[in-house]
């Protein structure tokens, strides 16, 4: 018995992931999450539910956060995808990554990629967020370890770092 129920067969798709053009041949039903993880080996983006309820799969598409489990990879053809692996600036951590380390903003770390991507996006749109802005922007990223107070602190610290890169004590 064949797998016809999966819909149309494979098609070539070109994606721009973390600044690199990549070509994959995939069935149109495949989510961006599964293509990132299984075709491109970018396992930093996590699968916590695969149904849009946890935020572990958060990535940026053309600068906006999306749940990669709710987006079809074919729909991202020709668009710019950024994942946690693409945040580093040369050899340095991104200020948000640095602040997460500094503020101990995670325990198990499974939600962390998604949290960091959401925080990066928030700061790109709102460089000086208040606690309420952070809560609104990041309420879609669950953390079962309950690292929330430190996540808030990390985003606030990252905002300070971005403003004055040398101001870190």
């Amino acid at each position: 018995m064949s797998l016809d129920w999966l819909g149309p067969g494979r098609v070539p798709v070109t994606l721009n992931v973390n600044g690199r053009e990549v070509e994959v041949t995939i069935e149109p039903r495949r989510t961006l999450l599964s293509v990132l993880r299984e075709e491109l080996g970018l396992t930093g983006t996590k699968e916590g539910c695969d149904e849009g309820n946890c935020g572990a799969c958060t990535v940026l598409v053309d600068g906006r956060t999306v749940y990669a489990c709710l987006v079809l990879a074919v729909d991202c053809s020709g668009r710019c995808v950024r994942t946690v692996e693409g945040l580093r600036r040369a050899e340095n951590l991104h200020p948000v990554q640095e602040a997460f380390v500094d503020q101990d903003a995670f325990q198990c770390g499974f939600c962390t990629s998604g949290q960091i991507v959401s925080a990066v996006s928030l700061l790109e749109q709102n460089p000086k967020p208040h606690r309420g802005d952070i809560e609104r922007a990041m309420a879609g990223n669950l953390c079962r370890c309950g690292a929330y107070p430190n996540i808030v602190a990390a985003v606030l610290e990252a905002a300070r770092l971005e403003e004055a890169p040398d101001a870190k004590d």
């Binding site: 018995m1 064949s2 797998l3 129920w5 999966l6 993880r37 299984e38 970018l42 396992t43 930093g44 983006t45 996590k46 699968e47 916590g48 539910c49 695969d50 149904e51 309820n53 946890c54 572990a56 994942t83 946690v84 692996e85 945040l87 580093r88 951590l93 990554q97 640095e98 997460f100 380390v101 500094d102 101990d104 995670f106 325990q107 198990c108 770390g109 499974f110 939600c111 962390t112 990629s113 960091i116 952070i134 809560e135 609104r136 990041m138 309420a139 879609g140 990223n141 669950l142 953390c143 079962r144 370890c145 309950g146 690292a147 929330y148 107070p149 430190n150 996540i151 808030v152």
Partner: protein, 758 residues
């Protein structure tokens, strides 16, 4: 002194986790791997009459289908092997053809792709004969109730396990003279309580990869809490020597007790062993919520008496716990409930009966607090009601009755390792605003709040407090132990110290703390210590489970003792100096089956909390404004991580009390998604969280440390419900506090709990 202990070292895996490089079980792959899917029973109680795999096997890409008849020894379980690996006929194990909850596993389908495995799973033809379902533990105890595990044999190892009816186990305490106690009581408070189940909802669903390693062993890469025990259970089911199984834990995405019992381990190992090629599995969120255990739902009936002056004289407590379809750790969990359900108080007279009951609900097992949050909830509700009945301040009533050094508990022996209940209570109360005046303790007056868009008179504020304690380790007679190996390399100086240990880092930061303690014990810098952890291939001994708040205490002591031995060897010129060592915790005893007398635990942690809430009496919504938590951790080896544990524990406990609502109806799970089972988000955390780390050393703890991972969870529920009472004048004796429940309770003037106690 290098003083690595007591400082906020950055987590060893921090960089890997913020860059996405840390590998969790689902992140592994191998070139020629195949994919597996489990066929779950999806019905709560039924006999599997037959399994027809013929159509499924025709699906393009299907490699193999495993059923009960393929499992050499078709049983497993942490305390007693009462669960089939795969349910169905043909395995020779009596009763293994019956499914007892919706998450029982019936078959494993392996194929080239996930999609093919999924399709084939859908084509499996299973003929079931449904059996009567019992999903209420009170019903399960009635004569004529369907029997979940008929014909059980007595366990020598665990005499508290019952062989009668649907009883899993029974614990009891008989202390003093109840008649005399009641005669002394001027005030008696009676209450009934219900605490709900709870889903772990660790963010990383179960996943794993099994393969044949270069030494020919079946290696299983998976998330768990006790690699050595997983290895033992896999080997038992596959009927091959333990050394031929290797269990490896990579980064683990949370556990909270839910990974203590196994999920994918045995079937993965079975498939890799039979196929001699790598097999991968990843559970969906729905499979995870249906497939693993939950916190025990419990029902309490309590009667406590005190003199007019506020001296506790008698307590009678009856507890029924829904253990679900299999034992898991129910006997141990209920041991903790037995000793905590009378609170941290000195009762001269006590009568306690605790029953665990089999039903067709998902199994109940370990979850943060391990039976103590439930016991503490009932106890502290009683205590707060007593304070009200006596017209006493809740802090004052506690200060009068809290256990202190050398005072016997209800089990007749004192708590080990120094008792600091008064310190945590006092420091918490003072920080929260209580005043200690001439005439005693005085609670601060509640401040009103205004919320945009809400009428002021609908917003009621309140403040409540509760105290908790919990043991470190499983104990109750179990000899806690921890194996490790230390190797010191170098010429003149120790250039590298390699610590090999089985201990799992489930996200709590254990590996960082172990590295700190090793550096301190060996007097070398952190950079010189490397940890090889969580691989039974390198750690043949048992380092014990990463649970029961035991890791720092047990592994820390193991490190201290082994380091001393290794340094002896080093001084005598051994190069490298190598020591393998097992630390044994102080001895304990089980509780006497008739009186409950005994010395169940070797160490404890203490905690007190004050919670402030605002309740909207028109909508039933509530908001936690502030939590103050004082936690005696003995010694904070890593203060930053301790704070993280406190905050995380509080958030998780808040979820349990407010928004998390696990619903099973007639054994079927109605909340199998994170869209229906709601856990707290960043917007739900208290506006203010204040942690007070108290460091009263346990003389036998490493550098004085006690366990602490579970303690912050304990007092939150009763403190929050006391705050709701303070705000509204109504005692709500059950939760979660959904707006509907709050409004109904306000309308009815309280909870109307009806249980069939006889």
């Amino acid at each position: 002194m290098t003083e690595t202990v007591g400082r906020p070292w950055v987590r060893a895996d921090a960089r890997a986790k913020v860059t996405g490089q840390a590998k969790f079980p689902g992140d592994f792959g191998m070139a020629d791997m195949v994919h597996a899917k489990i066929l779950f029973a999806d019905r709560p109680h039924a006999r599997v009459v037959s399994i027809d795999t013929s159509e499924a096997a025709q699906v393009e890409g299907v490699v193999a289908i495993f059923t009960a008849q393929d499992v050499p020894v078709n049983e497993y379980g942490l305390q007693t092997a009462d669960q089939p690996v795969l349910c169905g006929p043909g395995s020779g194990k009596p009763g293994a053809d019956v499914v007892r909850f919706v998450g029982d596993q019936v078959a494993l389908v392996v194929a080239d792709t996930r999609a093919a495995a999924e399709q084939a799973r859908g084509l499996m033809e299973i003929t079931y004969e449904d059996l009567p379902v019992v999903s209420d533990p009170f019903e399960a105890l009635k004569p004529g109730a369907p029997q979940i595990h008929p014909g059980r044999e007595a366990s020598e190892l665990h005499p508290e396990l019952s062989t009668e009816g649907n009883f899993i186990c029974h614990h009891q305490i008989r202390k003093g003279d109840m008649e005399a106690g009641w005669a002394q009581a001027d005030v008696v408070v009676e209450g009934q309580y219900h605490t709900p189940g709870q889903e772990h909802a660790y963010l990383q669903p179960e996943a794993g990869l099994a393969y044949i390693d270069d030494e020919g062993r079946v290696a299983v890469v998976v998330a768990g809490q006790w690699a050595w025990e997983d290895q033992r259970q896999i080997a038992h089911a596959l009927d091959i020597p333990v050394e031929e199984i290797r269990v490896i834990y990579p980064a683990i995405g949370g556990a909270f007790g839910g990974r203590e019992d196994m999920s994918v381990q045995i079937v993965l190992a079975l498939a890799a062993y039979r196929l001699q090629r790598p097999v991968k599995i990843t559970w969906t969120r729905e499979e995870s919520i249906r497939g693993h255990c939950k916190r025990h739902p419990m029902w309490f009936r309590c009667k406590w008496g005190a003199t007019r002056e506020g001296e506790l004289v008698a307590a009678e407590v009856q507890v029924v716990a829904d253990g679900g379809a299999y034992c898991y750790t129910t006997n141990k969990v209920l041991g903790n409930t037995t000793i905590t359900c009378t609170g941290p108080y000195a009762f001269p007279n006590a009568k306690v009966d605790v029953d665990g009951v089999y039903t067709n609900n998902p199994p109940s097992g370990a979850m943060r607090g391990f039976g103590a949050p439930q016991g503490i909830f009932a106890a502290e509700m009683q205590m707060n009601k007593l304070a009200e009945a006596l017209g006493m301040d809740p802090v004052a009533l506690r200060m009068r009755n809290l256990l202190q050094d050398e005072m016997p508990t209800t089990t007749g022996t004192p708590l080990a390792g120094g008792v600091h209940l008064q310190e945590v209570t006092e420091r918490c109360a003072l920080a929260a605003g209580w005043e200690r005046a001439e005439e005693g303790w005085r609670k601060p007056a509640a401040k009103g709040v205004a919320l945009a868009g809400r009428p002021k008179e609908a917003m009621r504020t309140g403040m409540g407090m509760a105290v908790g304690f919990k043991n470190v380790g499983f104990s109750f007679g179990y000899q806690e132990n921890c194996w490790l190996r230390i190797e010191l390399r170098g010429e003149d100086d120790i250039e590298r110290a390699i610590v090999t240990i089985g201990t799992a880092d489930v996200g709590q930061g254990a590996h960082t703390v172990l590295q700190q303690m090793a550096a301190e014990a060996l007097q070398v810098s952190m950079e010189r210590v490397s940890l090889e952890a969580s691989d039974t291939g390198t750690s043949p001994g048992s380092s014990g489970s990463a649970s029961a708040s035991r890791t720092t205490f047990m592994a820390g002591n193991a490190i201290r003792e082994a380091a001393a031995l290794a340094l002896d060897g080093w001084r005598e010129g051994e190069r490298p100096a190598v020591v393998e060592h097992t630390y044994l915790a102080p001895e304990t005893t089980p509780l006497d089956p008739d009186t409950g007398e005994g010395f169940p635990n070797f160490a404890y942690g203490y905690v007190a909390q004050v919670v402030e809430v605002v309740v909207d009496v028109e909508t039933g919504e509530l908001r936690v404004r502030r939590v103050v938590c004082a936690d005696d951790v003995g010694k904070a080896i890593n203060p930053e991580q301790v704070e993280g544990q406190i905050e995380g524990g509080v958030v998780q406990a808040m979820g349990w009390v407010t928004c998390e609502n696990f619903i099973a109806q007639a054994g079927r799970v109605l909340t199998p998604h994170l869209s229906t089972y709601l856990i707290p988000t960043i917007a739900d955390v208290p506006e203010r969280m204040e942690t007070i780390i108290v460091e009263k050393p346990d003389p036998r703890g490493p550098w004085g440390a006690r366990g602490m991972g579970e303690m912050p969870f304990l007092p939150l529920a009763p403190a929050l419900l006391a705050a709701v009472h303070d705000a509204t004048g109504v005692w709500i004796d059950e939760f979660p506090l959904t707006p509907e429940r709050v409004l109904r309770s306000l309308r009815d003037g309280g909870s109307l709990l009806e249980c069939d106690w006889e």
